[in-house]
């Protein structure tokens, strides 16, 4: 493990048991997250990015499980911890902001009760101290501390998402996982929340895993970028480099799939077809059926994530990497 790594995933496999069979939503994912780093994970719906997040938090649903591999958090493999030991980590060391703040907050409890509960569940403090912590945190996310008495329906969507961020940061975790935290929000609100996260990251120094389908947003805010496709990471590297010169054909397709506000308007390509079902993923490279440069061998051998240049990884036999 790297000295300054806070989280390391090694060959992680996780999935869901469904009536139609086992769906491996996270397939052999390895990643390293450094202290203070902002990692963006981009991928389309169904690519396994949320499953990855819930695996790290060990919050998978009943029909889901981690099959194999390890999640090493600050030197400890947390995959084998029991619930009690896991609770020492959850929320105290690593916390999560869920996608839909509308559903993640309990509508019949006030913000105060929910925030204070989160503190008391993990820390031996008095209720008054817990409330004080909660109010300080609310001020930090730009919500007037008096609003602590509010119920979720009295807050706007943006404010509810700020409450979720405050709740995640209450115990000053080392790792903050954000699963599409701004997808349901308008662009202006999204922008102000991203600014807030940047500000808080500089105050507290936590690492971030930011999961979204909006690649244009990630490129702008993250230090490093992992692109997921059909359960696997297909490309990884510093965001600026991946944006400037993507290696993997899927990344190239994604980069050519969102219009920009500046520069010439040219016809964009996007990607033909649709992502495969994870119940029966295609053999070989999972992107091969949609890839416009695929050769025969692509459909036969699974490409491994290989170093293409310092700090950059790509899983494609056509961009210098090896294969199985």
């Amino acid at each position: 493990m790297h000295a300054d790594a806070i989280l390391e995933l090694r060959n992680l496999k996780a999935g869901y048991a469904t009536n139609a069979g086992f769906v491996r939503a996270v397939d052999d994912v390895s990643l390293t997250l450094h202290r203070g780093e902002f990692l963006g994970i981009a991928g389309e719906s169904g690519c396994g990015k949320s499953t990855l997040a819930y695996s790290i938090m060990r919050l998978l649903r009943d029909n889901a499980r981690i099959e194999s591999g390890s999640i090493i958090f600050d030197g400890t493999d947390i995959t084998s911890l029991d619930e009690k030991a896991m609770n020492e980590y959850r929320w105290t060391r690593m916390a999560m902001v869920f996608q839909s703040a509308m559903n993640a907050l309990n509508p019949v409890l006030s913000v105060e009760e929910q925030l204070v509960d989160a503190v008391l569940a993990h820390k031996q403090v008095t209720r008054a101290d817990a409330k004080k912590t909660a109010m300080e945190m609310l001020e930090l996310v730009d919500i007037n501390a008096e609003r602590i008495a509010s119920y979720p329906h009295q807050l706007s969507g943006g404010m509810r998402q700020r409450v979720m961020i405050a709740m995640a940061l209450l115990l000053k975790p080392d790792l903050l996982i954000m699963d599409e935290p701004t997808t349901a929000l308008d662009v202006v609100v999204q922008r102000s929340i991203l600014q807030k996260i940047e500000e808080l990251r500089h105050i507290f120094g936590f690492s971030v895993i930011f999961i979204t389908h909006d690649l244009s947003l990630l490129v702008e805010i993250s230090d490093s970028l992992a692109i997921m496709y059909a359960g696997k990471i297909c490309e990884y590297g510093p965001s600026r480099e991946v944006y400037a010169s993507p290696d993997h054909p899927y990344t190239k397709g994604l980069m050519n799939a969102f219009p920009t506000l500046t520069g010439p308007i040219s016809r964009m390509g996007g990607i033909e077809g649709q992502a495969p079902s994870l119940l029966s993923p295609p053999p070989g490279c999972r992107f091969a059926p949609r890839c416009n440069v695929a050769i025969d061998a692509c459909t036969k051998e699974v490409p491994l994530l290989q170093v293409t240049s310092p700090g950059r990884l790509c899983a494609c036999r056509l961009c210098g990497g090896n294969h199985e």
């Binding site: 922008r191 600014q195 947003l217 219009p259 520069g263």
Partner: protein, 323 residues
């Protein structure tokens, strides 16, 4: 002027609130909206949620009755419809693509029965064989081929992108002149959005239709349109040629919207945007300019009078007294 196919003049739509406590309270969803749409043109209507853009499309589509103002199609005032025939004639010309491809197709009907409705309602097919050919043509037109493979399927058997293609096929079935596209790609995966956008651009050229393209994404609006109208809290704040509005945004709200959009080519921006607050309540909209409560440049006058749309040349209009 004869190139204008659709024109709205000072159109407003207020929704009455329900409940005894709310008697005489209304939501000002759309206020004093004026714009025109040229033949074969694509106009983007951009705004955040709650800005009134979908209400605008629904009022034009005849789904909601306007509260005041006039809507002209080919120079003739329309709405409310006096007869069913008038309604059908209008709806054959003006069609809408809905945002949610999962909710806008009846899950218990096959694609055939969904798609044959417009042909039957508008009596477009002379015989069963002709109908069959028309169904196949419209599916092939949106890239669902071979069409026979899709006709017997149910919506749940199609992906989101395919469903939206069926929606678009249904919209084009009656050879409309105006398409109201209400965020047609916002619920689709990023990799397939551009394919749907390209298809709409192609169909617009091929079928000579005019598009009102509704979106919250300024960059998408730029890709799809030649003119842009930006709505905020029920009112149009700025309208003009796409490139001009985006490159030289004049209204403080449009500038804010532009600064908020993701800009991967620029890297992390250090300068914070002067955003404060969120879209105001439309039950009690702010007095004067609706943006003054959030505007970093607001002066006293901004809260006192509603600014008029001002012509700043080149077909570029702005609703701001400070310009």
């Amino acid at each position: 002027m004869n190139n204008v196919i659709l024109e709205l003049k000072h159109v407003s739509k207020h929704f009455a609130l329900s409940g005894l406590r709310n008697i005489s309270k209304v939501v000002h969803a759309m206020d004093d909206v004026s714009f025109f749409l040229n033949k074969g043109e694509s106009l983007a209507l951009v705004g955040e949620s709650g800005s009134g853009k979908t209400t605008t499309a629904s009022v034009i589509a005849g789904m909601y009755e306007k509260t005041s103002g006039e809507i002209y199609l080919d120079g003739q005032p329309v709405l409310p419809f006096k007869t069913r025939e008038a309604s059908l004639r209008y709806k054959k010309k003006v069609q809408m693509i809905f945002q949610d491809p999962f909710a806008s197709l009846n899950p218990t009907h096959t694609i055939r029965s969904i798609l044959e409705r417009p042909f039957l309602i508008h009596k477009l097919a002379g015989s069963t064989r002709e109908l069959e050919a028309m169904l196949c043509d419209s599916l092939e037109m949106v890239g669902l081929s071979p069409a026979k493979e899709y006709l017997h399927r149910f919506p749940h058997e199609l992906s989101g992108g395919q469903r939206q293609r069926v929606n678009i096929a249904r919209t084009f079935a009656v050879s409309p002149e105006i398409i109201l596209a209400d965020e047609p790609t916002s619920m689709l995966d990023v990799s397939i959005r551009i394919g749907i956008m390209n298809m709409m651009l192609d169909l617009k050229e091929k079928k000579h239709v005019s598009f009102l393209y509704i979106t919250h994404d300024l960059a998408g609006a730029r890709y799809m349109s030649t003119r842009i109208a930006v709505m905020y809290a029920g009112m149009i704040m700025e309208i003009g040629p796409t490139e001009e509005v985006i490159a030289n945004a004049v209204h403080p709200y449009v500038q804010l919207l532009k600064a908020s959009a993701p800009a991967p080519q620029e890297g992390v921006r250090k300068a914070a945007i002067p955003a404060k607050g969120e879209i105001p309540s439309l039950v009690h909209p702010p007095s004067g300019c609706r943006f003054h409560t959030r505007c970093p440049y607001a002066k006293k006058i901004c809260s006192e009078e509603v600014p008029a749309m001002r012509d700043i040349g080149n077909g570029h209009f702005v609703r701001c007294v400070l310009v």
